[in-house]
Symmetry: C2
Subunit: 517 residues, 2 copies
């Protein structure tokens, strides 16, 4: 079997035990937090405040009447948590964060803000990667943190009902205990919230198996800018009674309404899961490996991820753990989930043997003990944080046809040469989703000018998307036109005017600063 | 094995050979066509024409300039095809049907109609069951029949690109030849069109496996009422660049825009399919059978349908075929699809044996030869047409929690007594979708009054949907409020005004005649 090490149930866990915990509610990558103060978004990116009202003492009195003293956060240190994003790239200047507990309280807040023309920034777990979840100026932060009650899970239909502020990992455990699986898995699951996930149409690791949130969200309770509560519809899997309004909030990033409750379809929990971590010599081999895998494991494949050597090395070095495999140009993670432990294991083993015989895979490991799988997953999930520890990260989250995907990384690497610390790629190959990351010691606007619009034009040329799963938020709001037609952008603008005529909801996000005429 | 007949590869095909062909483009159930003239919808249902312009000779000249003489249908006999729905319940009074070949032609037509305030009825295969696809008065019929070019299928990503007028069955064959499956299967597939399917968010037999069209439509090209063409976006599986506009057209039944091209995700085609047709003694046993099946076959289950004895008997009698099983109170059809022929077959056999040992299944058959499966499916798919041959059918397409579902059929049967010919139920149990049908010799408004709002109130009480998969169209437009809140209906009305300010697109459909204030 060549040099392949077939380490079933191998003891990887202790070697990776020092690995980061998932993004926690502090919202601050651990090492960076103390290193520097994040500049104001408005200054760093040169943004002009729009014509909203300014918060007054009267407003604060109204808010205290609605949510009580404890629901109104005004201390500067406490506000740091709400003003700075997880990547520590964006900083707002809000002087108040509100923490309603009920939909009615949230509605009352919005009604007041809309009447007063106070801008509002809805916020979930604040783990977004495009600056969409923090204010840009002095928007009122509307935190969903206290709206985290899980209502029910119908184990016959699989319908989970929860308030929007429930943390994804908490939901996952709740569903798992009841024989179901949440059809969404993210590195940020320890602190991201289901409402924020839906608002950004988060993708993640299980997308390949369960599809997007448009597939799995059966209904939403939302509150419009003027305080109108749109209650749940029927939450039945099939309901064709008029326009399917809840889909308009999926991926709207809090600019059309605030999601307060979610009805989510949770599929039955597979009884058997296995994970391969494989080393390969080239991206060409990664593609061939995907072709073989998708044919052999179609029905049980639940993830197909790749990392280049830069991502892999940075992750294990920054998290101070021993690497599970020796250095290779590329790594692939293949996860299968099914209901036939023995049969599935045999199919995976047989596939890996085939891949080795074809010299596509050189070295690797297969594990199926949960803690071992978790440890391997953390290398993949730890990449984003590890890169932020090396400096300022220029992040690009792109959909590009598989065959072209890594050419972009190589083109950018060549283009930037030694002017950057690193240029690396990883992502959800099965979904055509590349995460391209360029790191410099600090933020340099001239590096951005070298990268943009080059990367966006490259992506458009290959008919890809300039935001696959992160959304546009603040940082990508002005690149929409690389993936959307002027006609579509114009209609989006009119939708925004319909749902939020005063434009109070999450301003400076999603829609471009200037609209096509 | 009790009285169970295990007829693998049994010879059912010849016995069912006389069974109906699928709904064909004539749009007329074969026997009924000559039997009676369908009354005008406007007269039968007492509708008032809204204030649209009337078609002039000048309009016809403009249309001929756009689509040529052959694209403009004005002969009264030819128009019958466009004015009468498949159920022969609705009849419009249109004096022109237009058959564009390109998106640009269709756009030019709409631009003219919008300027002139001429109402328009977009029409696909005209197989809808709620009168949504035929005009109510003299709307210009905009037929997609000639826009039926299949562009491509990317066998790596599974993305199928097609014009909206392609017939579903043609697409299915096209995909099948390329190792993929269209994630939608309907009894009407021989004449329904993919654009119409998307516009009505059609459900059908594969919903249980592949989910709704919100899961599988990757992108749409659409034309708005004013002629604006909204081109495809990226059609990538992941694209979070702004609002996901194409979802607003899914299920909008041609009232927000006309779908001209579809990008559809086609999953890999399973290599092995089996079908069970089983006889059961009670609906309680049907439910237990579903519980056992969904647990045992979760990963390979692709359909779980039920029929009551009335539906079964009417289908085989009206189509003049020998029944595959003797009379039982209920029948269940279980389809599995996978990639492991032997393993799957063993699991199905084992399940059926369990069901028999528990006395849940009394008699049945398992087939896996394609023509045999097709023959059995035709009994199920032939129910709708068979019932129309018995008289006027009051059709209800409801989502109701499984456990309550058949109670409604029994309640209505009791309520109507001998005043109706029959009251029967069948449907997609796995998706909580009941098709309830009441038949009388002719249309009697007083029967409708006995049935409605009784059935809708019953459904609302059980938190169900009054239109699971058929849409609202003309016939159900005024019952939306049983499944939607006043706030949601109001927002839908405002969406309609945004997308179609002159209200020219498919008037008298979907939205209720009077809106909540």
């Amino acid at each position: 079997m060549l040099s392949f090490t077939f380490l079933k149930y191998m003891d990887v866990a202790p070697r990776i035990s020092g690995l980061l915990s998932q993004r926690k509610c502090s919202g601050l990558p651990s090492r960076c937090a103390s290193m520097f103060r994040v500049p104001f978004t408005a200054d760093r990116y040169n943004v002009r405040r729009r014509d909203y009202a300014k918060l007054s003492e009267d407003d604060l009195r109204v808010f205290r009447d609605i949510v009580g003293d404890s629901g109104v956060v005004t201390g500067p240190e406490d506000l740091e948590f709400y003003n700075v994003d997880w990547l520590r790239i964006c900083r707002g200047q809000s002087t108040v964060a509100l923490r309603p507990k009920t939909t009615q309280q949230l509605s009352d807040i919005l009604k007041h803000c809309n009447t007063r023309k106070l801008a509002v920034c809805p916020q979930g777990g604040n783990t977004g990667l495009v600056g969409g979840s923090v204010p840009v100026f002095d928007e009122v932060v509307l935190s969903l943190n206290l709206m985290n009650h899980i209502e029910s899970l119908d184990t016959v239909s699989g319908t989970l009902i929860s308030q929007a502020g429930a943390v994804l990992e908490t939901l996952e455990n709740y569903a798992s205990e009841r024989g179901r699986v949440v059809p969404l898995d993210l590195g940020a699951k320890g602190s991201c919230q289901i409402g924020g996930n839906v608002a950004t149409n988060a993708g993640g690791l299980r997308f390949l198996r369960y599809g997007s949130l448009h597939s799995n969200v059966l209904g939403l309770e939302t509150v419009l800018a003027d305080g109108t509560i749109l209650p749940f519809g029927t939450n039945m899997r099939k309901d064709n009674t008029g326009y399917h309004l809840h889909h308009s909030f999926i991926g709207s990033e809090g600019t059309l309404g605030v999601i307060t409750q979610v009805a989510l379809l949770c599929p039955p929990k597979p009884s058997s899961v296995s994970l391969c971590f494989l080393g390969l010599n080239s991206f060409e081999d990664v593609l061939k490996c995907y072709d073989e895998t998708s044919k052999a494991l179609t029905d049980i494949l639940s993830a197909f991820e790749f990392l280049d050597t830069e991502c892999y090395t940075t992750s294990y070095q920054e998290h101070n753990v021993s690497p599970p495999l020796k250095p290779f140009p590329f790594y692939v993670m293949i996860e299968v989930s099914g209901w036939n432990a023995e049969g599935d294991t045999n199919r995976v083993s047989s596939l890996v043997e085939t891949l080795m015989n074809k010299n596509l895979v050189i070295h690797g490991t297969i594990v199926n003990e949960p803690s071992h799988m978790l440890s391997l997953w953390k290398i993949r999930e730890g990449v984003a944080e590890a890169l932020t520890r090396r400096g300022y990260v220029y992040k690009y989250d792109l959909s590009i046809p598989k065959r072209e995907m890594y050419n972009l990384v190589e083109d950018v690497r060549k283009r930037m040469g030694s002017s950057v610390e690193s240029c690396s790629g990883y992502g959800h190959l099965g979904d055509n989703n590349l995460h391209l990351n360029i790191v410099t010691k600090d933020y340099y606007p001239e590096v951005t000018k070298q990268l943009e619009p080059y990367i966006f034009e490259w992506t458009r040329k290959h008919k890809g998307s300039v935001s696959a799963e992160h959304g546009l938020g603040f940082k990508k709001r002005n690149v929409m036109q690389y993936s959307q037609s002027p006609q579509a952008i114009k209609l989006m603008q009119r939708m925004k005017e319909l749902y939020d005529p005063n434009g109070i909801l999450n301003p400076y996000k999603v829609l471009p600063d200037s609209f096509p005429s």
